[in-house]
């Protein structure tokens, strides 16, 4: 199966400028509404959220997760697929 990042996301969530715990809370709320198999793309510049809480949430839920750190832009693109 193709990487999540190479697929068209079902929805994109922009949490740039928001700090913990908002990126995770908003991610959770968005994922709850996403259909099974849907992919959420998250734009996030909060390190603790991008590198810890959101990946931890995806793992706990059993969701497929990918992260791309855009060093030049200073934020992460995170991809979660709802199973």
């Amino acid at each position: 199966m193709a990487d999540l990042k190479s697929q068209t996301p079902t929805e994109t969530l922009d949490v740039l400028g928001r700090v913990c715990p908002y990126p995770l809370v908003l991610t959770k709320k968005t994922m709850e509404k996403l259909p099974s198999g849907g992919i959420l793309k998250i734009l996030c510049d909060a390190p603790a959220s991008a590198e810890d809480t959101i990946p931890r949430y995806a793992e706990k839920q059993g969701y497929k997760f990918e992260s791309v750190k855009l060093e030049d832009k200073g934020y992460w693109e995170l991809y979660i697929q709802k199973t």
């Binding site: 913990c20 715990p21 908002y22 995770l24 809370v25 908003l26 709320k29 949430y57 706990k60």
Partner: protein, 137 residues
């Protein structure tokens, strides 16, 4: 496997202390605690404003102009945005001469779907009695 109901109860005035802000921050943050809990365990938080605490919900607080801090209004809107139930005591609002038009009722401009609920004190009591933990701010 257990769901713990948490009531964050605010009965203090806004801005002179950090207590109201802490209540909002902790209530919002509590929605993420499941990632650190065992599978099936979770919390169900909600916010209650009673007594002097209802003044935290007033619109156009201008806190940045007066105290140099961000308004609690935005924090309440964020709470609604992330799906926290916010209850305000009807009798205490009336005591201050406030109405639905005087307080923050929604976060629609942020995309929030929930609305602030103004309910009688007896209804607040029922909700609080059903909680596992009460946190006063």
């Amino acid at each position: 496997m257990a769901i713990r109901k948490l009531a964050f109860i605010v009965d203090k005035l806004p801005h002179k202390t950090e207590t109201s802000r802490l209540a909002l921050t902790h209530a919002i943050a509590s929605q993420t605690v499941e990632i650190y809990l065992e599978d099936g365990d979770n919390v169900e938080p909600f916010l209650v404003f009673i007594g002097d605490g209802v003044l935290n919900c007033v619109k156009d607080q201008k806190a940045i102009d007066i105290y140099g801090v961000t308004s609690l209004g935005m924090h309440i809107q964020n709470a609604l945005l992330v799906g926290l139930n916010v209850y305000v005591c009807k009798e205490d609002l009336e005591k201050f001469g406030l109405t639905e038009d005087s307080i923050i009722m929604d976060a629609a401009h942020l995309g929030g779907e929930l609305k602030t609920q103004i309910i009688p004190y007896t209804e607040i009591e029922k909700r609080v009695e059903a909680c596992d933990h009460l946190l006063f701010f």
